[in-house]
């Protein structure tokens, strides 16, 4: 499936991230589940999430956006991708 920032919307991003978590963390979670507080993933996995976001949606995460709160939940990551121009809201 090839999508671009123009054709992709927030739901596509959300679906992609839930699938990624299912594969990599072997867990099916709700979009508002706190991945780190829930102990589901280690802090090193946060970096994997950053890299995945950058590769899958063509965004660059840097500066002030590079904080754990932006990666706590699927919803937060989706909002970050939209905000960074990787998908329509």
């Amino acid at each position: 499936m090839t999508t671009t920032a123009e054709t992709r919307d927030a739901d596509d991003v959300r679906r992609n991230l839930l699938e990624f978590l299912k594969q990599r963390a072997k867990a099916e979670v709700e979009p508002d589940f706190d991945l780190f507080a829930g102990g589901l993933v280690s802090s090193l996995f946060a970096l994997e999430l950053v890299v995945h976001l950058e590769n899958a949606f063509g965004v660059t995460v840097g500066g002030e956006d590079l904080k754990i709160d932006n990666f706590r939940t699927v919803d937060a990551m989706t909002a970050l991708v939209v905000r960074s121009g990787g998908a329509r809201g």
């Binding site: 090193l44 970096l47 950053v50 500066g63 904080k67």
Partner: protein
Amino acid sequence: MTNTDPVAVLGAGVMGTGIATLALGHGLPVVLVDVDDAVLERALAQVARQLKLGRLMGGLPRESADGRLITTTDLSAIVGARAVVESVTEKPGLKKEVLAAATAVIRPGTPVVTNTSAIPVDELAEAAARPDEFLGAHFMNPPYLIKTIEVVRGPRTSDVALAAVLELLGEVGQQPVVVGDGPGFVVNRILQRVINEAARIVQEGIATPEAVDALFTGCLGHRTGPLGTADLIGLDNVVDSLHVLLDRTGDEGYRPCDLLVTKVKAGEHGRKTGKGFYDHGGVL
């Protein structure tokens, strides 16, 4: 030397790369030296990822610009360094060789630290051109996330060298705990033995790695159990450190158990190879 001169890091393995990230993330220039171009190539990519991870987790300041990184196989590139951090493989002979060569190149008055896990500082100081300018700085992995560092003062370490290193560590946000010299210092004299015993328990079928670590995290409040920690350190490094401790103490409790030795032989070195006591699902 001035505070704008680069920090030289010798060895671009897991720790050398992490130490380079720590300095760069605080805006200090770094010269990273290794004998292997492929290792340096990999380190460049790692540093870029680690700078992100460090900022993400709040271990590195978000506001400061990255320092400039130079990677090279040419040891003479460290000539103008502000300080030298030796972080090559945990083999006494190799470390001495590198320290002798490095201290012949740098200006007198340049402090040199070893990131050895367990070799006594004074034993390595033999190889340094100026043993009084030499001490231990045992960074934890990953150094850009863990702020406490074990600083080891050898019997010949001067006040001046210690002060210069403490100042540099302060600039990169590290909180030093200064201790005396001896095999394994404090952390590894205790930790390596605990890891060895934990591995032996798994080997004897008394408990799984998960069970051992669950007891340490749940009952004792450790952040990770001994075997999760071992995977983070690297089982190859654990075995090397145990040999260093065994050779210097004669204490059989440090003899690496069969399970550790077998895993290292099978290339299961922990996180850095994707598998150790745990499956890390690929190399992070």
